[in-house]
Symmetry: C2
Amino acid sequence: MPAANRQLIYANTPSPAIDPSLDNGTFKLNTTPIPDNVPDDKVLVRVHYLSLDPAMRQWLTAKRSYIAPVERGQIMRGQSIAQVLRVGAGLQSKYQAGDWVVAYSGWQEYALLGAKEAQKVTVPAGCQPTDAMSVLGITGLTAYFGMMDVAKPKAGETVVISGAAGATGMVAGQIARVQGAKRVVGLAGSADKCEFLRRELGFDAAINYKDADWKKQLKEATPEYIDVFFDNVGGEILDACLARAAKDARFAICGAISQYNAAKPQGPASFMTVISQRVMMKGFIVLDYTKQYPAALKDLATWLTQGKIKRKEHIVPGGLESAPKSLVDLYEGINTGKMMVEVAPVSEAIAVKAKL
Amino acid sequence: MPAANRQLIYANTPSPAIDPSLDNGTFKLNTTPIPDNVPDDKVLVRVHYLSLDPAMRQWLTAKRSYIAPVERGQIMRGQSIAQVLRVGAGLQSKYQAGDWVVAYSGWQEYALLGAKEAQKVTVPAGCQPTDAMSVLGITGLTAYFGMMDVAKPKAGETVVISGAAGATGMVAGQIARVQGAKRVVGLAGSADKCEFLRRELGFDAAINYKDADWKKQLKEATPEYIDVFFDNVGGEILDACLARAAKDARFAICGAISQYNAAKPQGPASFMTVISQRVMMKGFIVLDYTKQYPAALKDLATWLTQGKIKRKEHIVPGGLESAPKSLVDLYEGINTGKMMVEVAPVSEAIAVKAKL
């Protein structure tokens, strides 16, 4: 084990775009020793896979939001899949070296964490540990509650998903199908992603919003208008879908990735449709549903093992330093499926208890 | 009785503002004979008070909406308080001359109407026939369902109403108080209207959105943010209220009078708050609630007679010709309370059965 722990510190406020350079950019590298002593109520973990999430840009902005911003000078906040290396005396009934955990480690290679910050991964049959950061993690749960509690697609309805090839969107679309949606339509940012949605996930239509005629394609793909829209993107895409809203449509507003870096956000100009079609739009945050996670994870694991939901991971190599650039890439939409940075390969893991 | 019936015909599409001139403007005057023969299934009515409603501008636009547009060449659509003059043979068990009705007459002085288009006004004790076009009519019902079914204010909450001195807004604010709201705040377009809201209706605060510092006033008037927003105005006001939304706020989107004449409508730029504060926004149309009208009218009549809801009418003199200019004035916001055009004064009524 090396003696040094490398960390990425939030150094400079984005203005408004994230600067991925480690030389006076948004983040800077810091090196500290790996702790020798593990306190009684902590575990020492090694981070293997960092999660990259669209919400991260919002955490860097000191606005009233659902979660306190990351302060400059702090380690960048983030979830990871990590392995327990050493266990404090008070936690030895709970963890042992080699356990895999979902860790609230932030962007660093090693972390000392309390029990609440290191959730042991139990892997349902047919699933894998990294699922705990995608279909069986926050992104899958986000898709689940957005669909099951907010949008509530019904049999026979037309459901449209934006950011459909992202970690949340692809699960949201598949849940809509499980719920009996008649047409599932995805919006994504490349021909490859659209091909993936149609071929591998069985979407009825997938539209590349970078095509010049994407609005025409959207119209053709939704001949009976849009009953449910699950939005990860906001901006122009939300606007176009609002203009196609069916009577009594439900719009689950999950994210607005197109707007997070915008100095001057755009509201949906087709807002009048909210009245004429009695549209219900509702924002939601997965953290409000923590009590319902166990039941939701049971459904998601069932669908995953039955093949009704398929997983897709986008793993970036290159270690911790890849994280800032990968976050910029996430906003550029390069990923299909859940985006993670490989901080340390599985081959470096110790005494593996769970198959990764 | 004169032999001629004057009518206002929808002549030219607004571009985008309504042109009130009767000489090649949006409407033109037409004169036809008053029918001599009343068919068996009709009544002949004389219009006394025409209702002016913000929705009218939308009816002139051939867009997908909750109601078919008025076609050019047709009589302008509109509700009125009218008096039955003659009754067809088949309707004599239902009406008699002198009855007051809420009439779907359109903009004309006389009309032949079927039973569905002429609803007899029953006046609860302590109420008056014109109430059937305000607190006990569509505007009161709109306020009722927007509050009771969509926004659902709870005891202790902060409720904000835009267009608060209008026919719907003033009832909405008073219903919020009946429901136990802690703070009721109105937005209106003049110091007089604000004075009326505070003094006569007991609003906790009223803000003139034409004041340079209205956003600052809004902030000060909502120290615990906004739990419920009942919106009649849209545009910049909706945007400012969205920026002040409390967690789990409900926004009942009733109308967007600021946008109806806009060539390029504006969406709410503070849309991100929908996510961060889990805001629910829902458009609604009173016509969806027809089955629930009787129960709602019972509540409204009770509150009106108990003085918990106060009425306010803005009656424009000058006969039918005043309607186009008055409609423009409605969008300018000159009225406090329900705006009506007096087509014929009560003194000209025949055999009055109900006190007007």
